[in-house]
Amino acid sequence: MVLVYEFVWRVLHVLLHIHRTLITLFRIRLRNWNGQLWSRALATLLVPIALSFPKQKKLVPAPGKRVGRRYRWGADGKSLEKLPDHIGLLIAEEEPRYTDIANLVVWCMAVGISYISVYDNHGVFRRNNSRLMEEILKQQQELLGLEGSKQHSVEFLNNGTDKQDNQVLSCQAVVKVLSPDDGKLRIVQAAQQLCSAVEQMEKTSKDINVTVLDSLLRESKSTPDPDLVLKFGPIESTLGFLPWHIRLTEFISLPSHVDVSYEDLFSALQHYASCEQRLGK
């Protein structure tokens, strides 16, 4: 009897995998074909899935059109009921594509998000920090043009450097690259710091509370907790992303960061704008 159950289980999972693969294939094909009819037909076929099909295909825009799109991005951001102050891009895929991530970062900036964090659970981005930064600056030039790049200046936060509070330029964005060490390890280091202070009799255990720990774990007083995390990839988990900071974060999953389009990002932002946070009340 057990063998029968096992067999049925295997068949079930094979079907599920085929289902998943078909969806991925159709998504890729749709991008290339740009067929409205196709998307409608497939939507009816694959109805039970809560996936948004891309509405437009990704074109390489003509230079003139580029300026128009940049202004559109800004207008899009203003049209939303609420925009996250801090967005996290969680890449849960094996092979990261730096250009696509750079695109995402630049679009987030253009739309008006001030803090952007990029994370993967192997620490790859952290190790290749400079490569990612170069790519972001390059895409910024390409997507926003020279003028746009001046308007939207980017500050890259490395671990340990403080954000300078002196000059606040309009549309300044802060990009941070995170790894699992910024999660539990940071909390443990803060705990060691506090215990050390207790050892030196500078503090007592009763002085330790949520506020004290929070101030130690905050990058700077002005950095907000992530309001929204976009997760790219098939794995349904936070994979160690900033456990302390994500208590009220909304999680929206997107299938992949490879060839991601602005429309994918914007529809996720629209979804976020409709979330209602009751904060316990």
């Binding site: 699992p180 506090l194 050892e199 456990p243 302390w244 009220l248």
Partner: protein, 335 residues
């Protein structure tokens, strides 16, 4: 309504359970039981009725979990943030909880039969004293049961739990039981309210919200997260099966990620121990560099003594927590 229902599953449900069990199954599932109030609005009944039905659904879900051989369940019953609600609603919830814990004590035989161990995680001192006493009696009465475990998070937020764990470690330092260099990820995990449980394999949130709301943030860093749009009082066996399927699809990559994290943790601990030993040798040595063998010996000795310190500290912490509960029960007995 009872805490645990008798098995009422039909043939199809039994078959489906057996099919699912052919694959990897979560051993510990956590639920954010969201949607009671929206359910009440939808059915046009009182909010309190929504919460009561929510509790009934919990009892039903526990039975399904037992049928699926899921032996540990953690639920988010009441957050510290929920104290912000209207006095009427908070009082209503406290009263409901009191009734349920009193009922639990009446059902002791049934609980013993199923071997159910109830634990309550959270800052109990924030609750009314009579509720604290009922909780303490329930926890102490079921302490020795070990067939299945129900952890109820009451007056709980994850940040409070983590801050409390850090405070306990600082207390350990104050008492001279451990040193600040003994603080590690593993030790912090053992100081959380959930220290007697493994991390949840699967976290389910109902009602369509896609956030964690300060629930088990530390423990679920590598858990499978499933967000379902059904309202909690309308949760069905099939919703649970759907969530478990999601878990099975994510099982291998998550296992891999968890193993990688554990390896990294072990490496960090080893490095920390090496650094401590090097420090010690520098301070207590006579200036002559030790050979590799003696260094290795010193490292092993240090690790062994650190582990002994940690065990003693954890024993003292457990004793402190047990005493808190037994004090409450003796207060209740005297009252």
């Amino acid at each position: 309504m009872s805490w645990i229902r008798e098995d009422e599953s039909n043939l199809i449900e039994k078959l489906s359970a057996n099919i699912l069990k052919a694959g990897p199954m979560p051993k510990h599932v956590a639920f954010i039981m969201d949607g009671n109030r929206r359910y009440a609005r939808k059915r046009q009944v009182e909010r309190q009725e929504g919460h009561t039905q929510g509790f009934d659904k919990l009892a039903e879900t526990l039975r399904w979990c037992l049928n699926l051989s899921i032996h540990e369940v953690t639920v988010y019953a009441f957050s510290i943030e929920n104290f912000k609600r209207s006095k009427d609603e908070v009082d209503g919830l406290m009263e409901l909880a009191k009734q349920k814990f009193i009922r639990l004590l009446e059902e002791q035989e049934n609980l013993e039969k199923h071997g159910v161990c109830i634990r309550v995680l959270g800052d109990l001192t924030l609750l009314p004293l009579d509720l604290q006493q009922h909780i303490a009696r329930a926890v102490v009465a079921t302490r020795t049961h070990n067939k299945c475990f129900l952890n109820v998070c009451f007056a709980y937020t994850s940040r409070h739990e983590i801050a409390n764990a850090v405070r306990e470690m600082a207390w350990g330092v104050e008492q001279g039981l451990i040193k600040s260099s003994d603080v590690s990820e593993a030790l912090l995990s053992r100081c959380l309210y959930s220290s007697n449980s493994p991390n949840p394999d699967l976290l389910i949130r109902t009602s369509g919200e896609v956030r964690l709301s300060d629930f088990l943030l530390w423990q679920t860093s590598h858990s499978c997260l499933v967000f379902q749009s059904v309202l909690w009082p309308e949760y069905s066996f099939w919703n649970l099966c759907d969530a478990i399927l999601q878990y099975q699809l994510n099982h291998r990559p998550l296992q891999k990620a968890r193993d990688q994290h554990r390896e990294g943790q072990a490496l960090q601990q080893h490095e920390a121990d090496r650094a401590c030993v090097a420090d010690l040798l520098q301070h207590h040595g006579n200036g002559k560099p030790l050979d590799a063998q003696r260094r290795q010996e010193a490292l092993l000795n240090y690790t062994a003594s650190r582990e002994e310190r940690v065990q003693n500290f954890l024993g003292a912490l457990q004793h402190k927590r047990d005493s808190f509960l037994t004090d409450l029960t003796s207060q209740a007995a005297l009252a």
